[in-house]
Symmetry: C2
Subunit: 192 residues, 2 copies
């Protein structure tokens, strides 16, 4: 049966993922070594790369899952009516994405799919983010002279900007959120 072979494959992959998740929980993302993962899973180095294109592909899944959890929470919450609420809703996501410089780098690198066919986990979450925030804007309460999708894309741009600036000097959550609020205000509620 083909099922059998697939089963072995899936088991190995699940084992690799489980070990990787465990190691990340222990030592963080940047410290993850493929060598440790394969040792923990009891397979050879090459097996790792027959399951994942490269280390980034694994990170894409791990970090993408993390982002997804936060988007779930955001989708669950009541839609924000003010910029303050909007910023507050972003806090956990922001914290997750900037927990390590390495994590942010990976997100930046993988936030756009390399090709149309193979859209990665992180790139998918960015699409989700656009959909989610666009839905908020369609409910009204913010500027209406441009499409909600465009508003959402701008959010993404400013989110990235704020996180990038955050790594410039000293890591300071307070500053990050303050800056985000300024950007969001200017983008979502222009007073011309």
């Amino acid at each position: 049966m083909i099922k059998q072979m697939q089963k072995r494959t899936l088991e190995t992959r699940a084992r690799l993922m489980a070990v990787a998740t465990q190691l990340v929980a222990q030592n963080g993302y940047a410290a993850l070594r493929t060598e440790e993962v394969v040792q923990g899973a009891g397979v050879a180095k090459g097996t790792f790369f027959s399951h994942f294109k490269d280390k980034d592909a694994l990170m894409d899944l791990l970090i993408g899952a993390g982002i997804d959890r936060h988007l779930d929470d955001m989708a669950q919450a009541t839609p924000p009516a003010t910029v303050e609420e909007l910023v507050a809703l972003h806090r956990p996501l922001l914290r997750f994405m900037t927990q390590e410089r390495y994590v942010f780098d990976v997100i930046l690198r993988l936030s756009g799919a390399a090709a149309v066919e193979e859209i990665g986990a992180i790139a998918t979450t960015f699409g989700r983010y656009i959909d989610l925030t666009a839905a908020w804007f369609r409910r009204g309460g913010f500027r209406r002279d441009i499409p909600a999708e465009l508003l959402a894309e701008g959010m993404q741009a400013f989110l990235t900007q704020v996180m990038a600036l955050n790594f410039c000097a000293l890591h300071d959550d307070q500053k990050m959120e303050a800056r985000l609020e300024v950007y969001f205000q200017a983008w979502l509620c222009p007073k011309v």
Copy 2:
């Protein structure tokens, strides 16, 4: 004399830079190998790393110089009065920054200084970009409800966004500029 020692140091560094520049002109940024650079300069591997913290530090200088050349041109040009002119002014810079995926990655990684003390070449050019565009906005012609500096920072955010999206699917300058115009219009000339 202390001068003598400094001279040797400067000569070696200049030789490394010259060889690196030459190699990049030949094969592009991503293909540069430190091994080739030191061989071309006639020094040992370790010498490279006593002159540059890491490979990124060299790239910072090379790419930073490239960006600076384009900023020189932009500063020379007559200040843009419309969004179309603004986008047109960005064309060469945009082309340079997206000539290689690797170049864009390096720019993203180094656009924020890691620490306050050591602001790199690329990070400096981003400061220059803010100053330049802020000066344009202070002349008027665009929205005035927020500080020119903030407007400029938004430009940077959208510029990054457009370049990132550019690497998502097929590389297409036309689309990149079109998208940039939409963003700039919405950011600089809100019609609320």
